[in-house]
Symmetry: C2
Subunit: 206 residues, 2 copies
DNA sequence: GTCTATACTGAGATAGAC
DNA sequence: GTCTATCTCAGTATAGAC
């Protein structure tokens, strides 16, 4: 990789982590990196593609570790599905460990979410991983109907996103994983389609 | 309210719902509304303030209904805390009903979240409501330690945010409320601070 | 008080010379 | 591959008409 490209990537990662994606202009990046503005578009095409490369460069090893942990967990319990605690751990712990080693990465991710770039980046970088983990979770809660399960996956994504960028994104990420896992396990294992509020007087009245 | 101001608000709400906040330029709004660019800054001061007024105009009655439902629920169960199912319903149902009547509002909210404007808008518009509901929830799960509870509130916010803007934001919002309530109740009532994965072989190995 | 016309600054993107 | 110059479009600010 050319020296120019490397400098752009490193500088962009630092500034995105410090200020967020939208708040960081290409002109600031190229000034700090000491390169020319057009070099960004030559090497990356656009600001969004630059962000994409910043993310994937760090996310790739995390995702590899996630899949490795999931593989082991599935092999260990085969032919039964692994308990969803383990599935969630396999997803969350590699990210948390990366966060301890490289504080900047998780901050970039948090900033992406806060900047609303999540859907674009998420689909490009995490699609394959998500598919694997969602199907593992699916096998772990066989009693939950399909539609309910799909909703719960969506709720889980929201909870994870907030967990990552929430206030105090500095502190011990591994302890946060424990909190989050307990919460998600409770949510996924909750009884499905029970008329929870059938006798709810507040609701009946409306 | 002046006709110009009204036209700007209506047009902005429609375009924000259709395209999102960042993707909608002030120039597009004023072109569609048939007013002058400077009128926006005269009446609202900035694009962000315009969004703020678009949101509060619709959110105010929703929040009022939320608090009314919570009041009734608390009075009904006093001196005991209301079950968290009812608290969550009191929060979610008014928004869902508003969504059925005015599809555009919930789409604006979803777009705000997707655009990352959530923290700013949320604090300004929903702060008081959030305080009331969080303390009601707190009383509903007395066994959960404080720190764990605070995390769960954060996870809940994330799940709610995703639930609102998630794919299929068109369909029956009220059924979505039921799915979400069950998930959140499960998460909040999950056993706290249990070493879920203490014997997790995948984790022990690291 | 309201609104119009216009100018200012900074953003991302691009064409073309070297 | 790299860089200069330029383009378009954004949000914002101001002067002044009614």
């Amino acid at each position: 990789m050319s020296d120019t490209k490397q400098k752009i990537l490193d500088t962009a990662e630092r500034l995105f982590a410090e200020q967020g994606y939208s708040a960081t202009s290409l002109r600031q990046i190229i000034a700090d990196a000491g390169v020319n503005l057009a070099a960004v578009h030559y090497h990356f095409g656009s600001k969004e593609e630059l962000l994409h490369e910043v993310v994937t460069r760090k996310a790739a090893p995390v995702n590899a570790k996630r899949l490795a942990m999931l593989d082991r967990s599935e092999a260990l319990h085969a032919p039964d599905p692994p308990p969803i605690e383990e599935v969630l751990h396999a997803f969350l712990i590699p990210m948390a460990e990366s966060a301890e080693r490289n504080r900047q990465f998780v901050r970039v991710m948090g900033r992406i979410i806060a900047d609303g770039m999540l859907p674009t980046i998420l689909e490009k970088t995490f699609h394959d991983v998500l598919v694997r983990f969602v199907s593992a979770l699916r096998r772990g809660v066989p009693d939950v109907p399909d539609e309910e399960f799909r909703w719960r996956v969506l709720f889980m994504q929201g909870a994870m996103a907030h967990a990552m960028c929430g206030h105090g994104a500095e502190g011990y990420f591994l302890s946060r994983v424990e909190h989050l896992t307990r919460f998600l396990v409770g949510g996924f294992r909750a009884p499905a389609a029970q008329p929870v509020a059938a006798t709810d007087p507040v609701e009946v009245e409306r």
